[in-house]
């Protein structure tokens, strides 16, 4: 009966139009600072949309609060700009009740890891089929420059005039600890790669986390320059691909090898080791993913590793909404009671 009401309006089976990227741009003026990394990310998301093969009205973008969270206004899909930190929970309610929708969560490092930290870890464990794009600029942009839970120690911000003494989160490690099933990293300045990761995130059935390094030109300009700058990128960014060895450096001259549990950097080619000796990336291996995610915070080891970009981890696990809806479907299929039965209950008596 309830389903019937939906059917009065839903157009779920309609043919998918031939979309162009601009079909996903809303009529609202985009309002980020000139040069903000958010622009490229918006562009790549809009570019990815036609490839999903989903009618526009079946897509929803839910965000919290922050510069990045303005995102839904710019997408010509359904959208909600909600309150600070709560987007994953709102999206969960939407997805549980409307599993056929394609739901995206847009969030910032403060939104998802500070005030929204609890919802963030719980959505990971529940593994609802959502795509979460986490715009990490290591700063609170909208409130004008306080340090965030991803800001490096020592950073001088408005709220830390003598430098931050707060140890930052490693967002991907937090997600893995909370049993995330899809964990990836990309950056605003490598649009092609970003685009491919967005599409892979969408393919994954389960909660897909894409951490996107995003430059805040105003309050934290250049914090990811080592990875985005063409000169330093080869030695600082390690692009990982399932089944491929971990190579990086100018002309892929370097590689990563596992020595027991310890990763080490090796030179390839003459005098060095061969590709066959290298760590082969395996998206399904939680231990490897954990090591990869933590490449940059192993200070005790005094080794400077490149930062990993790409899909670090991707495994299948049942989605929460499927469990819920299977139970409901099962109960509905076995339905033996009418509403009148329910109102009547087990024991009644008659007054005459």
């Amino acid at each position: 009966m309830a389903q019937a009401r939906f059917n009065e309006v839903l157009t779920l089976d309609r043919e998918v139009p031939e979309y162009k990227s601009k079909d996903f741009a809303s009529d609202q003026d985009v309002r980020w600072c000139p040069g903000c990394g958010d622009y490229t990310i918006l562009k790549q998301v809009q570019n990815a949309m036609p490839e999903l093969g989903i009618p526009r009205e079946q897509i929803a973008f839910i965000s919290g609060i922050g510069c990045s969270s303005r995102f839904p206004y710019y997408m010509d899909t359904f959208g909600m700009h909600s309150i600070h930190g709560r987007a994953p929970a709102i999206a969960s309610g939407l997805k549980v009740t409307r599993p056929e929708l394609n739901v995206w969560v847009i969030t910032g490092d403060g939104d998802s890891l500070s005030i929204g930290g609890n919802h963030f870890i719980h959505v990971m464990r529940r593994n609802l089929d959502l795509n979460i794009l986490l715009f990490n600029n290591e700063i609170y942009g909208l409130t004008k420059g306080q340090y965030s839970p991803t800001t490096k120690e020592g950073f001088v911000s408005k709220s830390t005039p003598m430098g931050s003494v707060d140890h930052p989160f490693n967002p991907l490690a937090v997600a893995l600890g909370a049993d995330a099933t899809f964990v990836s990293r990309a950056m605003d300045r490598d649009p092609k790669h970003l685009n491919s990761i967005i599409l892979r995130a969408n393919q994954h059935k389960g909660t897909s986390l894409v951490e996107i390094y995003q430059n805040c030109v105003v309050f934290n300009d250049g914090v990811f320059e080592a990875y985005t700058d063409k000169a330093t990128r080869p030695r600082e960014a390690l692009y990982v691909e399932h089944g491929k060895p971990l190579v990086f450096g100018e002309n892929d001259s370097k590689g990563i090898r596992l020595n027991g549990l310890k990763p080490e950097i090796v030179d390839l080619g003459e005098g060095g080791v061969s590709l066959d000796d290298l760590w082969i990336h395996d998206e399904k291996d939680l231990t490897k993913a954990t090591i990869l995610a933590r490449f940059f915070d192993r200070p005790s080891e005094h080794v400077h590793f490149p930062r990993a970009f790409g899909v670090l981890y991707c495994v299948d696990r049942p989605c929460y909404e499927d469990g819920v809806n299977a139970q409901v479907a099962h109960a509905v299929s076995k339905k033996s009671k009418t509403l009148d039965d329910l109102l009547t209950g087990d024991e009644t008596w008659v007054i005459k």
Partner: protein, 615 residues
Amino acid sequence: MRLQSQPMSEVTIRFAGDSGDGMQLTGSQFTNTTALMGNDLSTFPDFPAEIRAPAGTVAGVSAFQIHFGSNPIFTPGDEADVLVAMNAAALKANLTNLKNGGLIIANTAGFDKKNLSLAKYDVNPLEDNSLAGHQVIKFDVSKLTSESLKESGLTPKDIDRAKNMFVLGVLYWLYSRPLEPSVQFIEKKFGKKAPEIAAANIKVLNDGYTFGEATEIFTSRFEVKQASIEAGTYRNITGNEATVLGLVAAAEKSGIPLFYGSYPITPASDILHGLAKHKQFNVRTFQAEDEIAAIATTIGAAFGGSLAVTGSSGPGIALKGEAIGLAIMLELPLVVVNVQRGGPSTGLPTKTEQSDLMQAVYGRNGEAPMVVVAAKSPADCFDTAYEACRIALEHMIPVMFLSDGYLGNGSEPWLFPKEADLQSITAKYEPSREEDAEPFKPYRRDAKLARPWAIPGTKGLEHRIGGIEKQNETGNISYDPANHEFMVKLRAEKRDRVADYIPMQDIDNGKDHGKLLFLTWGSTYGSVKTAVHEARLEGYDVSHAHLRYLSPFPKNLEYILKGFDKVVIPELNNGQLVKMIRDQFLIPAEGFNKIKGMPFTVSEVKQKIYELLNK
């Protein structure tokens, strides 16, 4: 039958024992049988705050009170006529609830040295004449039970567990009730799984009855005739169960699937438990990580087209304030259930109170008007929950539904409705549109000022909403000063306009003008109704009106209030509705307050009436 049953018009019995003594079951069995006999009744369980405090201590006492009669009954009774005390701690904890001259039925086995010391009695109260003002009937229930079951082959532990059935049997005899319904219940409960337990319980029940019949321990026996209440088929129901059914019924009638997002909290958790069982009605429940996530999931579900409900109690509702504000901005239908408990902070979590009214009306940042309704009795939770859903769906507005611990856990007979007789609920989703249609306006409005419910998956309705102030009609972000003032007033007007779609306020009892009006809301209804009824019979000119709608008020409320010389507002708080009434109507309404974690007694209210009218 040696003794002739004496007719009585109403009786209150209080069963009290250790948490492990099965008093809740005994009480509910007595309740069922009493209901089947056609009495009107009202019950209230009184749990200990601890899950299981050490056996024998006062903290571990669990009680159940039933008030039944051949007259209409609206409260579980001020004081008990009969107190069943299974041990010393039960007596200690409950003696104040017994009438002067009331009957104590005591299990002497529960007054042994160990029990007395656990209950911190120096002397056995059954023997030191301290109960002289009461009738005391004592016997060793434990021993009688084990006698009864000595051939059963059961373990001593299982035998001891059956002792509540002995007491039940005795009371059935005392009040001339049949054993049949409880026999059936026992068979259904244990028959298949443990037939020997079933047989034993039935035997003990019978033996208890026979004990009453055979011994001369009782000098009188009573009968309470069928009540002359409205004809029809009844069932017994608690407020939390009625809330569950009200929500499911609203979903079924409106054709909108129900979603309930909640985080457990006493005394609201049973709504979550109840709804989780009704998946066959296409109900989805979500036990969220916290109260904020709970309401956030309902906002997502409402956006997706569900009848979205979240429920909690005071502290949890406090956490939802920010998100309620969002729902008010989004203008989505949403029901927030608050089963109130004693506050502030953790307060008295297992006790009842009406102290969250101001939080319901004002507890958010900014000008954030929402509709507030409250139930007056356990069964009324059905109607009020249903009404909350109707208003939310038809007006596209968040509604707070106030219940409380006393309503939620208390029970009463319910003349339940048929689906066909339920008021219809008109909820509709915005239909799809073609590419070339006029741009869709998500904040366009109808006569109720409701906006269209445009759900994802509907072609042509793509739109974006959020918590920043929005332009009317388009819903776009707007920082325009004039628009903001317009929208603040519009949201207030939208809430106020609900008054055009609810019934006028009526007088529950008495004339529509006169010297004194008692104005109630929520669970104070029962005791005030009874008190006013009785006072009127005694010739006092007092009237009673009860408010279901607290925000907005019914349109004629001012007219009614101004018909009385004095308006008194009894509340289980330090004075909240009274503030709203004084502010809005500028009348010198007076508060009458009790903040003891328990309802007014009828006699407290009557006392107040005497005081006010005799001076």
